[in-house]
Amino acid sequence: MIEEFKNIINILARPYIMFPAMIVAFIFIFPATDGLMKINRRLGLYKLWTNNGGIAIFAFLFLGFGFGLTDPNFRAIVTKPDNVPIVGLIFLVVFFLWFALKQAWENDEREAKGLRPNEAEDAKENILVWPDLVYIEFIAMLLISALLIVWAIVLKAPLEQPANPTVSPNPSKAPWYFLGLQEMLVYFDPWIAGVLFPTVIMLGFMCIPFIDNNRKGLGYYSFNSRKMAISIFLFFWLILWIFLIITGTFLRGPNWNFFGPFEYWDVHKLEALTNINLSEVVYMILLNQRLPDNILLREIWGILALLGYFTLTPLILAKTFLKNVYNRLGPLRYSIFIIFMLLAASLPIKMFLRWIFNIKYIVAIPEFFLNI
């Protein structure tokens, strides 16, 4: 019975089931538009951000971990010393997510009643930094020092065998905070996952204050008045950042194969590699002929698809789905915004192309190491 339950969890945890499920859940839990907000209200999802909701979330987390720890495979991965911070990270991120959104929804309710946010009520009073802030800082420092000392005594820093360039461990993993990038390597070549995307992510983050020209919600927690910005940010932060790291740490085993949380990390697990390139789909499957020798002719479909993706989609979206966004941002801001969004969306798109059509590369020019 329990084994069957674990098997079900293992299957549900597979990326092609879990990831779409998370995206769908995300859209309703963090509604980006008024329409979605109405559905959120009707489903009562906003109740997650109340005290009872918090208790429910944490009961679920603790029960899940408690149950998981009874399983030797789960325990082996989670209690690895270098993985402990990520377990902590999960709880901290969930807690602070709840903490931020609870205050945000409270302030939204106040705003709906015509009241100012809670922070504004507090800000009416000025206080002296000595002693009110200095003492808080002092206590925070003491607590964090105590935490670090206890952590250091209880858990030894890992030290494996001396470095040996001839014996590579399987799997070889980057430090945990880069595992999101390593996870992207499944879907993109290193020049995209390891160089282009990190650069784009950091540039994108730096551009946030210049793209988001909504002046509301400065200096207090809020959701409703800036729900589009918050939803987009949370999508990056929770799913493409934290969740990919968790996947890379806990669910990727030998040969970077996917393993469910209760699955034994079998080095000999076989995964059929049946991936094909878009050019092969077009010429060999659809047109039933051999690949042309000319590189440009061979890859023209992928190149056209990419050009269309980065030129036509922004125009179509500006006229239809993102009309309001375009009107608010203006042409320059909108262009920068949409390029970042399209780059970001290329990751889920590539994932789905891989899962559904087994597509490896849209444009594959291995002659120049240029695979997209």
Binding site: W130, S172, A174, D189, D212, G219, F369
Partner: protein, 265 residues
């Protein structure tokens, strides 16, 4: 027993009136409002803060303390890191043995543990700080530039952690860095395994090879070896801390200059 605190208070009172104490702490024990204000101005460390703040700004539910804790953990890492440098030699010959000695031979040998867990903790606190700043909309004008500095600090924090990851010179270390640095080899144009690597060529002579590309610059060699260890050590102990401190100075300065901690207008 009941007059014990009284005696202590009397002693502290006397102590604060001695010439030595007055020479060091000009304000004395801050008791009245004026002293509480002047102590913030007279002390160079406290002077990072303003004298007065709106009440919401000191509430933990608003700031989560994450920015301050990131800075504090950075200081802890600096202190423990200096202590570790006493024992550690960045050569392929000695590095691993020195780490084993740190664990086995050094009294109170938890400095490496504090340093390692502190490094993980700092990455987490910096992320949560960024999350908080976003959720309170604190990146909005006039604080746009400080958000950029913050993103730079986030990158530098991860680079600090990444360079430190190699130093124990065990299997975990070199293979994690191998995975990470292989990406540098795939840099477009500048990496030997990246697209356009044969664009920088003169006739048949290729300028970007595995002995001259971005990965080689990072590792000081074709693979993670002696050169990489020294480079990562210098970057970890001197180079990156130097840069990160400059950016931290700008970050803290701009917090004050951009109108202090954010709040409802």
């Amino acid at each position: 027993m009941s007059d014990q605190p009284n005696a202590l208070a009397k002693f502290l009172d006397w102590l604060s009136k001695t010439q030595v104490a007055k020479a060091i702490f000009r304000t004395g024990i801050p008791k009245n409002r004026r002293q509480r204000m002047t102590v913030m101005l007279n002390n160079v460390f406290l002077h990072l803060h303003p004298v007065r703040l709106p009440k919401h700004a000191v509430k933990i539910k608003y700031t989560w303390c994450m920015g301050g804790l990131s800075f504090f953990v950075f200081l802890v890492l600096t202190v423990t890191g200096i202590l570790l440098m006493f024992y550690y030699r960045p050569t392929v010959e000695y590095a691993y043995g020195d780490i084993v000695d740190l664990r086995e031979q050094v009294p109170l040998g938890i400095m490496r543990e504090i340093h390692r867990w502190g490094a993980h903790l700092m990455v987490i606190t910096v992320w949560l700080h960024m999350f908080r700043v976003f959720m309170t909309g604190s990146y909005k004008p006039p604080r746009e530039f400080n958000w950029i500095i913050g993103v730079v600090l986030l990158v530098l924090t991860m680079l600090m952690s990444f360079t430190g990851y190699l130093l124990p010179w065990d299997q975990l270390a070199i293979w994690a860095i191998t995975v990470g640095s292989n990406m540098a080899g795939a840099t477009p144009i500048l990496g030997a395994a990246g697209p356009g690597s044969n664009l920088l060529a003169l006739g048949d002579v290729n300028f970007v090879t595995s002995a001259s590309d971005a990965r080689f610059a990072m590792l000081g060699g074709r693979f993670v070896g002696e050169g990489a260890l020294l480079r990562f050590y210098v970057l970890h102990c001197i180079g990156l801390p130097f840069i990160i401190m400059i950016f931290m100075i700008i970050h803290f300065w701009r917090v004050r200059k951009d109108g202090g901690i954010s709040g409802p207008v």
